[in-house]
């Protein structure tokens, strides 16, 4: 599938308020640079992210989705990310079972201090998806037509 040269992927990132969102802000404070196509949705804890949001994101035209939270053991709410880990281990495999390319959905633990790790993960995911081209799978007809224009 030929990728239009100036095509920019749209990537959604659910970031937990206490760790990854803070890490992302820290990346900003340190003026680190990363691609523009990752948009962050702030959630109180990664355990608030319902795996159904991932299916929804692909349906509504996103090309990639990330879920980031605190390292297990550091969760501000003690046990939140233990549940996140199980949920997304299963959802990731269910999506792959249905044909979603594994690189399109990424789940990573990024703490409040790991600004560089946030930048690296975002850059890596963004470049990977840019190489893969737009995501047609699960996409609603409205976005398929919009893509065709």
């Amino acid at each position: 599938m030929s990728v239009k040269e100036n095509w920019e992927p749209k990537i959604l990132a659910f970031c937990c308020n206490w760790c990854t969102y803070t890490g992302a802000d820290l990346a900003g404070l340190n003026r680190m640079k990363y691609p523009e196509n990752v948009h962050v949705i702030r959630v109180p804890c990664s355990s608030r992210v319902n795996p159904q949001f991932i299916i929804r994101a692909f349906q509504k035209g996103c090309d990639g989705v990330m879920v980031c939270g605190c390292h297990p053991g550091d969760c501000h709410y003690a046990t939140g990310n233990y549940y996140t880990r199980r949920r997304f281990m299963l959802m990731k495999r269910l999506l792959e079972h249905n044909g979603i390319d594994p690189n399109r959905f990424v789940c990573r633990w990024i703490s409040g201090a790991e600004a560089a790790k946030f930048r690296d993960v975002v850059t890596q995911v963004s470049n990977q998806i840019k190489a893969m081209g737009p995501n047609e799978k699960f996409r609603e007809p409205y976005y398929l037509e919009k893509e065709a224009e």
Binding site: P51, Q52, I55, R56, Q59, H71, P72, T79, Y82, Y83, R85, R86, R87, F88, M89, L90, M91, R93, L94, L95, E96, H97, N98, G99, I100, D101, P102, C107, R108, W109, K137, F138, R139, E140, P141
Partner: protein
């Protein structure tokens, strides 16, 4: 076998504790039976037990949560797991049920080939000799077949299936693990599930339901049996079960009445792959 079941029903009615008993009765077609709701001794005559008793009798008890008398249910292996499932989910009370377990001889249903529990796991009275059970090697054959494909082939395989789906929700209404008061798909205000019939909406429904019941699926195969368009729905939930098996240890759902679903738990030394 049929007479023993009939006697069990008659004894249940004599005890006076049981309001009605759910079983199977013949239809005008030789190769089909339909659920029978016996209220008194005369109805017991209509009871049949043959290889066409493929309907699950368990979920009807959900519609009568506050019965005056006990609800009698004739249970094959998979029906008993359905009852265990609904009791674990706190939707049925064990004391409201009078369970007549029958050791199943395999019915006219493809799922029976991979059945691992012909003997009911929960019953008040058991009919037939308990058999030795073992998990069928074919359990995840379908899942492995799909796993062997490339991502695009997998997507195209499912795209054809979900193009067929007409969203009649029969798979939801028959599934014992789908026991919500109001299904997420019926809550339009929240907007999870659209009403349009297109491949994307069907996939959202298919995947969401698979994820909702994945860690509680008792593999009774009713969803595939009832689907008018013959979608391979079981391969979605069995994919979840296979992953749960590989990641969190051997799992079979609906075997006990206090079963904690895997997604409701966590373990400090779960596999770590998001570091």
């Amino acid at each position: 076998m049929i007479n023993e079941i009939k006697n069990a029903c008659l004894k249940a009615f004599e005890s006076g504790e049981v309001g009605y008993i759910i079983g199977w009765q013949a239809t005008r077609f030789a190769d089909k039976t339909t659920p029978l709701f016996m209220r008194s001794a005369e109805d017991v005559e209509k009871l049949v037990w043959n290889k066409y008793c493929v309907n699950s009798t368990a979920k009807y008890a959900l519609e009568d949560k506050y019965p005056e008398k006990k609800i009698g249910i004739i249970l094959r292996g998979c029906d008993s797991r359905a009852v265990a499932r609904m009791i674990s989910d706190k939707q049925l009370k064990r004391e409201n049920l009078y369970l007549i377990g029958v050791v199943c001889d395999g019915k006219e249903d493809p799922i029976c080939a991979t059945c691992s529990h012909k003997t009911p796991v929960i019953y008040d009275v058991l009919i037939g000799q308990p058999t030795t059970e073992e998990i069928s090697p074919e359990r995840f054959a379908e899942v492995e077949k799909i796993a062997a494909m490339t991502p695009d082939e997998r997507y195209n395989y499912w795209a054809v299936q979900y193009d067929k789906c007409i969203r009649c929700y029969a798979c939801r209404n028959v599934c014992p693990a789908c026991n919500c008061v109001e299904c997420y798909a019926d809550q339009y205000r929240t907007g999870w599930q659209g009403k349009a019939h297109n491949r994307a909406e069907n996939q959202v429904y298919g995947l969401t339901r698979a994820y909702h019941v994945g860690d509680r699926c008792i593999e009774c195969g009713q969803c595939e049996r009832v689907c008018p368009m013959n979608l391979p729905i079981m391969s979605q939930t069995r994919k979840m079960l296979k992953d749960i098996n590989d990641l969190f240890g051997p799992t079979e759902c609906g075997l006990t009445i206090e079963e904690a679903p895997v997604l409701g738990e966590y373990d400090l030394n779960d596999r770590e792959e998001f570091m």
